[in-house]
Homo-oligomer: 240 residues x 6
């Protein structure tokens, strides 16, 4: 059974049985612009409202995601960088609140904002031979918002956290697997996606309720979620 929800644009959502695959499409760097964030958030909202029981995110090409879309921010960086960061944090929150398990099948570089997006998933499967997990922050003189730092802190051992942020270490799949950043290592992109689908397939058979799953995840990271909500919800006009 397979159903195609939406495939125009920068990402697609496909259904395989009770599993949804969210794919960053095309050979681009999958950088976060308002358009990409908006499409991703719509797909996740579709997932939340569906009766599917797992979400697997993956990518075409050489990049899972290479971070913020600096082309888009360039004309007015002072206002646009904070804006797109906030959009990215809302996307992270969507994943942290989603009522089903989330798997990142990382088939290429996950850098900067792309690292955040990868770490916002519950589980990570990575290619052995290609791609880095890399927080570019220190190399591009970018100060992470505290909510984004808090996401990384909640998901990494203390030494990995500081090597990732303060040293800008590029974790290959093998390194990432050794320090617990990923859950499984596979030969190539096809095997990476297959492993994610296999793990999801096994898990969706178990009798958990989707509301309970979402509730459990909320209870695990209350300070993180509260901080992201505070950061990403500050003032603005509401119009009809």
């Amino acid at each position: 059974m397979l159903g195609l929800f939406f495939s125009a644009g920068m990402c697609s959502l496909e259904r395989f049985g009770s599993i949804l695959v969210l794919r960053l499409t095309g050979e681009t760097e999958h950088r976060f612009s308002p358009a990409l964030c908006s499409q991703l958030r719509q797909h996740i909202a579709t997932a939340a409202a569906s009766d599917a029981r797992a979400l697997v995110t993956t990518n075409d090409g050489k990049y899972f995601s290479n971070g913020l879309d600096l082309e888009w921010t360039k004309p007015e960086p002072q206002t646009r960088v904070p804006y797109i960061l906030r959009e990215l944090e809302r996307l992270v929150l969507d994943l942290l609140k989603l009522n089903m398990p989330t798997y990142a099948a990382i088939c290429g570089h996950a850098a900067a904002g792309g690292l955040l997006f990868a770490m916002a998933h519950d589980h990570r499967i990575m290619r052995k031979d290609r791609g880095f997990l890399y927080s570019a922050a220190v190399d591009i003189n970018f100060v992470l918002p505290p909510g984004s730092s808090a996401l990384l802190r909640a998901k990494m051992a203390p030494k990995v956290f500081k090597d990732m942020i303060l040293q800008g270490v590029k974790y290959t799949g093998i390194m990432a697997n050794e320090v617990g950043l990923v859950d499984s290592l596979q030969e190539d992109s096809a095997a990476t996606l297959k492993e994610a689908l296999d793990q999801a397939s096994k898990f969706v058979e178990r009798p958990w309720e989707k509301a309970a799953y979402a509730g459990l995840r909320l209870s695990m990271y209350p300070e993180l979620i509260e901080r992201l909500e505070r950061e990403s919800s500050s003032g603005g006009f509401i119009t009809v």
Copy 2:
């Protein structure tokens, strides 16, 4: 003794003995744009570095300040409204951390962001016959950032706080004086400024140290200041 520091543009800083007067100049509404925020923050930085012992803020014309500069935000409201809010919260923080007492001599309307700016001062003197203290938020469908709400909560009795925010009550000078929003009521603009200068003159004679004064204020509002710092300091690039 009088010294003029800076008067070009939208505001000026003048010195009268050991008191600095920060004036929102001209017959405009003194709305907060990046330019006005930047000039105000530079004046406050000048004050902080000077040997003056009090700051009195006042205004020309009919408005103390009428809030955000919506002309400036209009071309790209989604990115510019959060940006200017953050600038305004940084300005509020500058006042909350300034190493001398701050007096707002409010000679006209203080609405929306103008209310925040007025409430960020330690003391308020207001005209009896003209001007309102008014949080326009409910009438313009504007959701205050939590840090701005926290500023108002820290400075108002609970009933005044909810009438101000949820009812959008317009407090005249007389009403404001009755509920403790202002410290003194005067006949006109000249008397309002004079009263602020008189209060400041008396206080600067006392033997307090400027570092102790700043430390005391910080110890009074730690949660407020922490919240404003978190909100206004999230990520961005730092370049030379």
Copy 3:
């Protein structure tokens, strides 16, 4: 224009133009049992989903509400008192999150849990001649949950807060009006309800959006709301 939504049981929800009236019906003490909490929460959910623009809560008889239903808790107080407290805090949260202004037209005693329910509204109108605002806690050796204390602290001046809780002072309408616990004082029940409807009628004419109103209230009391959510959301089974 008038529409009757639901009137069976312990409370009813009626519509007058764009105002909903939530009435605690009958000559009882309107004590909080699971049944009453459930009915009230259903009415508030109905209100939230409707296109109405204000909610007025009022009561028949001599009691706005006299607190927890101790008849219901008596057979197993150790498990049932915490349970009903949690239900009451959820009801308070529903009001704090409702997307429209809330008015309590208090026509009789509001004691213990009834005081909490009254204080959870945005505005309060009270009879001059009858009824007390009274936290019975100290007189019945009842320790308020911290979230309930936090609600009262957020809505009262410090001196009123301690006289209310630690002295068990019974505030008559006149006393309550003097210290800012209520917004208006009326002669009798009919005038009390009429005043609430009049205030609401005026306010609903203004062009605020319901989502913005809800967002504003959330930004005013973030610590209170977070505390109530933590307290009222702890673990349990989720079943289909």
Copy 4:
């Protein structure tokens, strides 16, 4: 009925029926030294373990208390000022946790640390004609520890709080009564103590339990108490 527990030294504890009177004895300024703090804390511990149902604190002479004992701190101010502040905050905590209502019968100046001690009580009765409530901090360049600021903030309206701390306003009895800093105003020291005893006598008749009373107060000020405990409990050696 009267019983004398302890009267040597700087303070005494006497029993009148079910009321204990803690008296700062002698015509001194009752400044807080380790010796005075220790004696006061012992008396409060005695009170906590007794079957008495109220504590009234009062003073001989012209001072309720004039603050820290600067004679004691003078030889080594850098280590001794923080030490005695911590002792004072522990004393404040003892009062905030005491299992009975506390009344300060303030018969003279309550300044600096003496203001903190007075405000740590549940209720305050003051002489009309003599004595000030006065936070000397701004005049002596003393930065309040955040826990002490938090005590004052929890007990005062926002405007009073800032006038007290940032202006160093000296509140006479009449001023203090107007702004809710005290609960009753009396002609002289005898009437002040008598009023405190009368209020206590009426209250002890009511059927509250001491554990419930203590629990109620804890639930009212959780952030304040947590902050004071954090501040006053940091590291040290524990020896047999």
Copy 5:
């Protein structure tokens, strides 16, 4: 030297030199009912008041503990499940505050509430061949209270935490040892208890004071302890 304190019922407390052994007795699943929680809390109170210097908890039969007593909660799950959870969190708090080191000699399954109880100890020794550490939450649609989640988060590496909660991984002794969930692995129940006693025996020889030990543990987990205290202490009646 050996002394038997209490052995009736579901658990016993025995003394071996300066070590106390708390045993979950009988071939049952040692599920947490009010009776079992109450007996365990009494034993821990006895331990706290004794001059013993270590506590070793162990079990008869195949289960360390299999979680809440669902037979007891079944007649009224809505009120009884939150009640017993609160009792369990109080038991966890008792261990976190106990004035001596705590060792869990885990001779069988520690599942759901049983996992929480095991993780509340300072150290864990486990059988190699039998028993799982297993948070059943996801499989029984049970949302952990935030305080219980916080206990697990404080004691596990981030990857183990999410595999434990979100995947419901069953950790055998060997797996648990590899990821640092346990401190030592032994062949059978006798060796497991012996190893715990040996570790305790060595440690009790060192010259630490019991009050300092308790203070140290409190300083290690302040947010966890504060959260558990808030969750488990909400309102109720206090009667003589």
Copy 6:
């Protein structure tokens, strides 16, 4: 290129290219007295104001540091122990806020306060054959201030944290390397310092800005830094 800034006394600051070496000089135990804390803080302030891009801290002799100077605290331990703890926490804060990476080249024992100082650095290089990382707290009945505990918790895996604090385990270089307490292990003191300089040399070549580096570190540990600032900043006199 080499420049000597300051070498008198207990520690020196030397410059090697863009790297500063802070050396605890002499064959002593390098215990923290007011004098040593003051000298270290002055050196770190010098570093912060310089154009250097890395700080390497190392030691002469057999001790990196053996903790507080108990000779200095002995005459008045009740006031002096809290005082020197606060000084040490300020020193830790200086390192956590320094605008360049910090490396501890640990050539000997780092015990008690010395462990805190070592863990306050970003990276640690240690001798293989000599020296322990050891929190003496449990063995000397010393209760860590919560801010100091929070530093250790932020830098260690949960199991290491509890073995370090509650067991007083002495981690040799080899043990420390296995559990991620140090980043590199070297044969002797010369090699240890050389490795730190080599790591720093490589890192200073990269194009990071110093303000961004400091901002990144602040965003990683906001609760830790806030807690340390609260603990170390409580009241005191400010004099000219």
